[in-house]
């Protein structure tokens, strides 16, 4: 269980970092999304992994920690909103500049 979760987080992070280092905006955004999935899983695991344990006292013998779940919920909402914002900006940049390269300095209009 621990190994599986750790491997998943590792693979998601690796994929995220690889995509983030690409030159076009769409892979970069995908990379950021993968990274935020990895982070959400990691946050979830920070309350220790437990099987068949609800985060409510009285439902099971050993309830799990509810706080990381609340943190993950907040983090998911925020990263969802941020992804929407960056997508809109990427589309706007693409429409305005005519290309979707994410590096600056390639376009004479960048200095303006």
């Amino acid at each position: 269980m621990e190994l599986l979760v750790a491997l998943t987080i590792g693979v998601l992070t690796a994929v995220g970092i690889y995509l983030m280092l690409r030159q076009r905006s769409f892979p970069v955004i995908l990379g950021l999304t993968f990274l935020s999935y990895a982070v959400n899983l990691f946050l979830f695991a920070s309350g220790r992994l437990a099987l068949n344990a609800a985060p409510i006292i009285g439902t099971t013998d050993t309830p799990t920690d509810p706080l990381p779940q609340a943190l993950v919920l907040t983090a998911i909402v925020i990263s969802f909103g941020m992804t929407a914002v960056i997508l809109i900006m990427a589309i706007g940049g693409n429409l305005a500049a005519g290309h979707d390269r994410i590096d600056l300095g390639q376009d004479p209009r960048d200095d303006a």
Binding site: G47, T74, M82, I86, M89, G93
Partner: protein
């Protein structure tokens, strides 16, 4: 418990919501409400400043949940000071935005500005690490909107990079918070300060990773070398008036670094020891050096302003890295100075660029009303380079005084970079003002916009004239930070598990 502590968060939030819901169609009413809300924020910040001077740290329990289970806002001298700085900067910025019609060049300038003030104010006040993350995000999402205000291909593309960089920063922040929570089971700052000294030895490694990641996140916000790459492009591409209010956003990173380095990971904490200081001093020195070289080589005035801002953040970090009350007091004084001075140079960059036909510094183009612009530029340059008679000189003197024991590194760095910055400003100033080829094109007079630099200037002069009493007050604030018993006690932590 006084309810005024939450007012700096609630007031801008209400103002922004009202503008979006009821005043959508009328820029004039939005302007009126925006100025009124900021004046209100100034009054509240001043009242809180007096309150904290009288009573010491005080906590506000959201929903009346006891700490560490609920979220708590803590007002201490540092947070009251930063709030006052925020309100004091927002006033000239909003005056300038109205006077120069920047707010009419795109939708929703004033609501976004209010949301930005709410996020920054919340970040200064909160006593909970996860809540700090949330307020960072509030601040950032408002800043994304402000950054691309007015549109244009270059600005939107620079904005995209800015957002991507900050999303990575937010992810790192969450990982660090997860690590902190996994070893301590709490995210309340005062509770962390209580629990970390009793951490079992096996968890030390995780805690050190968390500490380094947190400092990295704050270094991204504060734009410390080697994480400064996003700043020059972003701030130079942002509208001048937005860059001026962003001057306080890098200070949020500085604030968070100072809070964590003194409260959560103090030098006395065995697990992290001098880890933080070991990172901060080289980063501060490198940031200062890079900023000074950038000032010397900047191609446009907004880039010059951005690098001057980087250099001043580096100077603050050097002072913080001393991790003593003397160093912290100097850092706080320099923070006040550098925020006002950086905002001043950004506003000036915008004012001067509107008076020239060409944006590049090395292309000859005359400046309209060169006398006034030249004089203001000279004053801003003196302030930023740390020359007498303005407060930058006092600030640098305090920092040098705190670092007497390590004269060689720090003194050399601060003095040499001051010289480089003087050269850089002299180069820019002579390129701009000493080549009067032909008459400049006539421009529309903007008396209201011109008021803003003078408000900032008045702040710098007040900081210089009142340097003595202000420094005494800051010294008490620094003592409170380094001996945080009053801060922790204000949380009334629930005892026992």
């Amino acid at each position: 418990m006084t309810h005024w502590i939450i007012a700096p968060i609630v007031l801008p939030a209400l103002a922004a919501a009202l503008m979006l819901l009821a005043l959508r169609g009328s820029l004039a009413l939005q302007r009126l409400l925006s100025v009124a809300a900021i004046l209100g924020l100034c009054a509240i910040a001043a009242a809180l400043l007096m309150l904290v001077t009288k009573t010491g740290p005080e906590a506000y329990f959201l929903g009346d949940w006891p700490a560490p289970f609920g979220i708590v806002l803590v007002l201490d001298r540092l947070s009251a000071l930063m709030l006052a700085l925020l309100a004091g900067l927002a006033l000239p910025v909003v005056i300038y935005a109205i006077g120069s019609d920047w707010d009419a060049r795109g939708a929703h300038f004033h609501p976004l500005l209010q949301f930005l003030l709410m996020g920054i104010g919340g970040a200064f006040l909160t006593g909970d690490a996860f809540n700090l993350f949330v307020f960072f995000e509030v601040m950032l999402i408002a800043s994304y909107g402000l950054m691309v205000h007015g549109g244009g291909a270059g600005r939107t593309r620079a904005g995209l990079q800015y957002v991507a960089f900050n999303l990575v920063g937010s992810s790192l922040f969450l990982v660090a918070l997860g690590l902190l929570y996994s070893v301590t089971g709490t995210l309340n700052l005062a509770d962390l300060a209580e629990k970390l000294p009793h951490l079992p030895d096996g968890d030390t490694a995780l805690l050190r990773v968390a500490a380094v990641m947190l400092i990295m996140v704050f270094a991204i916000k504060a734009a410390l070398v080697p994480l400064q790459f996003w700043l020059p492009g972003t701030y130079a591409a942002a509208p001048g008036v937005v860059a001026a209010i962003f001057a306080v956003m890098t200070k949020v990173g500085v604030y968070a670094t100072l809070r964590f380095a003194t409260l959560v990971f103090p030098p006395a904490l065995h697990a992290t020891d001098l880890l933080i200081a070991a990172f901060l001093l080289p980063a501060g020195l490198a940031t200062l050096g890079l900023g000074a070289v950038g000032v010397l080589g900047a191609s446009t005035l907004p880039r010059l302003a951005a690098f001057a801002g980087i250099a001043s953040t580096g100077t603050i970090i050097i002072a913080i890295a001393h991790l003593t009350p003397e160093g912290t007091a100097a850092a706080l004084y320099y923070t006040l100075h550098s925020t006002l001075a950086t905002a001043l140079i950004f506003l000036l960059a915008d004012l001067i660029d509107r008076r020239r036909a060409d944006l590049r510094l090395d292309h000859p183009a005359p400046v309209a009303n060169p006398g006034l612009m030249g004089a203001l530029f000279l004053i801003a340059a003196l302030a930023l380079a740390g020359m007498p008679p303005l407060s930058g000189f006092v600030g640098k003197l305090l920092i040098l005084d705190a670092w007497q024991d390590h004269m060689l590194q720090v003194w050399a760095a601060v003095l040499v970079t001051s010289f480089l910055m003087i050269l850089g400003f002299a180069r820019a100033g002579s390129l701009l003002f000493w080549k009067p080829t032909e008459a400049a094109p006539p421009i529309r007079p903007e008396p209201v916009a011109l008021l803003a630099p003078f408000v900032l200037l008045a702040g710098l002069v007040a900081l210089t004239v009142l340097a003595g009493p202000i420094h005494d007050w800051l010294r008490v604030a620094a003592d409170d930070l380094h001996y945080p018993k009053a801060y922790i006690d204000a949380n009334h932590l629930a005892k026992g598990d």
